[in-house]
């Protein structure tokens, strides 16, 4: 149930820590895992941002940036075709560019397997674990 003003954790190394949803794309309903949304970066990770601007782990996004993202975890439970239900304790997303490729190169945190069927296989393979 990710909609306007929902705050999500960003679990990639793009530099964003907390983002806010401003738009759900291709849907008239709240977004769930696998949906593309538009977000505003609200809080950025503070590693390598001001001390060493060109150290390889520089933040690719800054506070206030508007980016696209894919929801990878949702608090709202989702039902699988076999009747099992999965729910996470937080809402999380991964930033992507307009073409749909992830901005970050690494991800930390479990993601939902629902990403597989929906063109986000690359994100699923980047994730350390999926449920």
């Amino acid at each position: 149930m990710i909609q306007l003003k929902t705050m999500l954790n960003c679990i990639d190394n793009s530099g964003a820590a907390v983002v806010e949803c401003v738009q759900v794309l291709k849907k008239k309903r709240p977004a769930t895992v696998g949906d593309r949304i538009v977000v505003v970066v609200q809080k950025q990770r503070n590693f390598g941002s001001d001390s060493t601007g060109n150290s390889g782990i520089a933040n690719k996004v800054r506070r206030g940036d508007i980016r696209h993202a894919v929801v990878v975890r949702a608090r709202k439970e989702m039902q699988r075709p076999d009747g099992s239900i999965v729910r996470f304790d937080d809402n999380a997303c991964v930033l992507i560019n307009k073409a749909g490729e992830p901005i970050g190169t690494r991800m930390n945190g479990v993601v939902a397997t629902e990403l597989r069927g929906r063109q986000w296989s690359k994100i699923l393979s980047l994730a350390p674990m999926h449920v």
Binding site: D82, G83, S84, I85, R87, D89, D90, G109, V110, V131
Partner: protein, 227 residues
Amino acid sequence: MANSSSILQQLGCFRSLLTKPRVTPVNTTGRRMLTTAWSAKPAPIPFPKELPEQFHDQIPKRFRPDLAPKKIKIYPPPAQPKCKDPIDFIAQTQLQKLDPSGKRRELFDYRRHARSVKPGDIIRVTFKNGDPFAGVVLSIKLRGADTSVLMRNQLTRVGVEMSVKVFSPNVESVEIVQRTQKRKRRARLYYLRQPRHDMGSVENLVANYLRQKRALTGAKMGGNRKR
């Protein structure tokens, strides 16, 4: 004169005896007052038998002889069904199909079987496609063939809950990793979601259990629970 008139005046009181007693008028307007006398409903006038056919349509419809009160058709009761409780029958056949040995039923029917999974236990469910899920049992919903178990775990420090239909063909095996030390006083342990009660990750316990199991059963993985 005066005498005769006074006598006549006195005789005047006998007039009331001579006149007929007055009868209260019969209720003609159809209104019944408290004072009107009750009268029985007049008996229906039988239909005149020798009335020629051509006069029939002058009589109100409801009095005509051919318009008898409508007969209500009474159907015989439907045939008794073969089984008393069809829903229960279907549930039983489904269970027979999904769990022929009855072991899975025993494993989750915590009201009847002492050695079953109980809320608070740590279990590990392996699916057909190979990936397992382990967690603390928060609740067991006993609903016949739709019986499900809700597990909770922390993966990469994110709480994950999964509800699994235990009789689903996708569920390959269910193992009890650890039983609760103390019987839980609740059937639904939803309070384990609160940070102060959260058990955290059970991955270490599960890894330990798997290591022990491997040592006991040889290097083989998988299989049924051995406890």
